[in-house]
């Protein structure tokens, strides 16, 4: 037991050291692209860290969104800036530029360290309540129960934040391109990318459907499945097999708004037939939750993919 303990502690220490080293590399390196690649590696390592913290749901989300989608967003932005902006002037590393911020940020870290070391003992936990009410939702995964039943209002607001962010991104397009589509396909598409874009999507869709379904009882759920679907859509558009959809298309907008709209509708239904806003009648709680999850997955996938695609930059076809 003690040997197992020391090995797993050693693994955790190596993981933490790797995370901090990669974060420092992001700050100090002069190579912008290198910083982004370090950040992607950071996101994947962090996913392993979340698995070590026994939070498999978070690990899946972090690896998919924190490492994957954010990394792609950053790489595309870097390529755009390299074309359109002059490289930033080299800044002389004078100590007065970084010394005071470094000390201030060090103090923030010290204060947080004190907080972490002073966590109350025994630790407060809502695990008892979460498990005790699990039966009334018909779910088996307490994290999904928190997301879609106990704290459904958080999830609903988050969906609306996603839509608002997308509206914000679209509103940054040129006037002429409003309602048009984003140009994702590069001038030269590498052959292996086309191959992957043909082979991977069937598997991706299958894995996404599985994750939504299994998310009711085991780690998985709408966010993770939505991210996988978004990645598949982006892969197809990047390889040029299908163009990005025009943002004024009615079907696209219905899909994006459909998930949150259904969520709000079920929420108000709760006022009429259950105890209040966003409370489900116990008999049909699980079918309702799975239905909401399915609709949300599609709108999350669409929103995430379009957030990565960025503002439309081609004028719409009349």
């Amino acid at each position: 037991m003690s040997l197992f303990w020391s090995i797993s502690l050693l693994f955790d220490i190596a993981l933490v050291a790797g995370l901090i080293a990669l974060a420092l590399h992001v700050v100090v390196t002069r190579d912008g692209r290198g910083a982004i690649l370090a950040f992607i590696a950071f996101g994947l390592l962090l996913g392993i860290g979340w698995a070590r913290l026994a939070s498999v749901d978070v690990a899946l989300t972090e690896a998919a969104i924190g490492g994957g989608l954010t990394g792609m967003l950053l790489l595309r932005a870097h390529a755009h800036l390299a074309r359109h902006a002059a490289p930033p002037p080299p800044v002389a590393p004078e100590p007065r530029r970084w010394l005071v911020p470094a000390i201030a940020c060090g103090l923030v870290t010290l204060a947080l360290t004190a907080v972490v070391l002073a966590f109350p003992q025994p630790a407060p936990s809502l695990a008892h309540q979460a498990v005790a009410s699990l039966e009334t939702t018909g779910l088996g995964n307490p994290v999904t129960a928190v997301l879609l039943a106990y704290r459904a209002i958080d999830t609903l607001l988050e969906k609306i934040v996603l839509i608002l962010a997308l509206v914000g991104v679209w509103s940054l397009s040129r006037d002429a391109a409003w309602g048009g589509a984003s140009q994702l396909q590069p001038a030269v598409v590498p052959e292996p990318l086309v191959f992957l874009a043909r082979v991977l999507p069937p598997f991706g869709v299958l894995i996404a459907v599985y994750e939504v379904w299994v998310g009711a009882d085991l780690p998985g759920g709408t966010f993770q499945a939505g991210t996988i679907l978004a990645a598949m859509a982006l892969l197809v558009m990047l390889a040029g097999l299908r163009p990005a959809p025009p943002t004024q298309a009615r079907a696209l907008r219905v899909m994006l708004a459909g998930g949150p709209a259904l969520f709000v509708l079920v929420g108000f239904l709760g006022v009429a037939v259950a105890q209040g806003f966003l409370s489900y009648p116990e008999a049909i709680a699980k079918p309702l939750i799975v239905g909401i999850e399915a609709a949300l997955t599609l709108s999350i996938a669409g929103t995430l993919a379009l957030l990565v695609a960025g503002p439309p930059d081609r004028a719409p076809e009349p």
């Binding site: 502690l9 955790d12 939070s55 749901d57 924190g66 002037p89 947080l112 940054l172 990565v308 960025g310």
Partner: protein, 114 residues
């Protein structure tokens, strides 16, 4: 709740504290705006990790951790992504309009007296 899980939770909590400092430093001191956006994500990752330590310490009822902080972190990751996407769209627009990806003054052209 074993001592091993407690040690591991504290270790990742401390890692989170360090990442908050590193990310914050990147945001306030780096001239390159894209790098500041990455710093914002590192800062967020640090805060989430501190939360993860809280969740892990709350393990009970045969769960690996308290599901409430875990669910909040999942929500947080998605919102942080939305904020990053919006920030990057703003930065791309700034670069297209001004030809610069930084707020730093250009390399000191001599200022004429009024």
């Amino acid at each position: 709740m074993s001592a091993m899980a407690l040690t591991s939770a504290s270790l990742f909590g401390l890692c989170g504290a360090a990442l908050v400092g590193i990310g914050l430093f990147c945001i306030v001191s780096h001239p390159d705006l894209l790098r500041r956006i990455i710093g914002f994500n590192i800062l967020g990752a640090g805060i989430f990790l501190v939360f993860g330590a809280v969740a892990r310490r709350g393990a009970a009822m045969e769960l690996g951790g308290d599901p409430v902080p875990q669910a909040m972190v999942i929500t947080g990751i998605v919102v942080a992504f939305a904020a990053t996407a919006l920030a990057i769209a703003l930065l791309r627009r700034l670069a297209s309009l001004t030809g610069s990806a930084t707020f730093e003054a250009p390399a000191a052209p001599p200022r004429s007296e009024p």
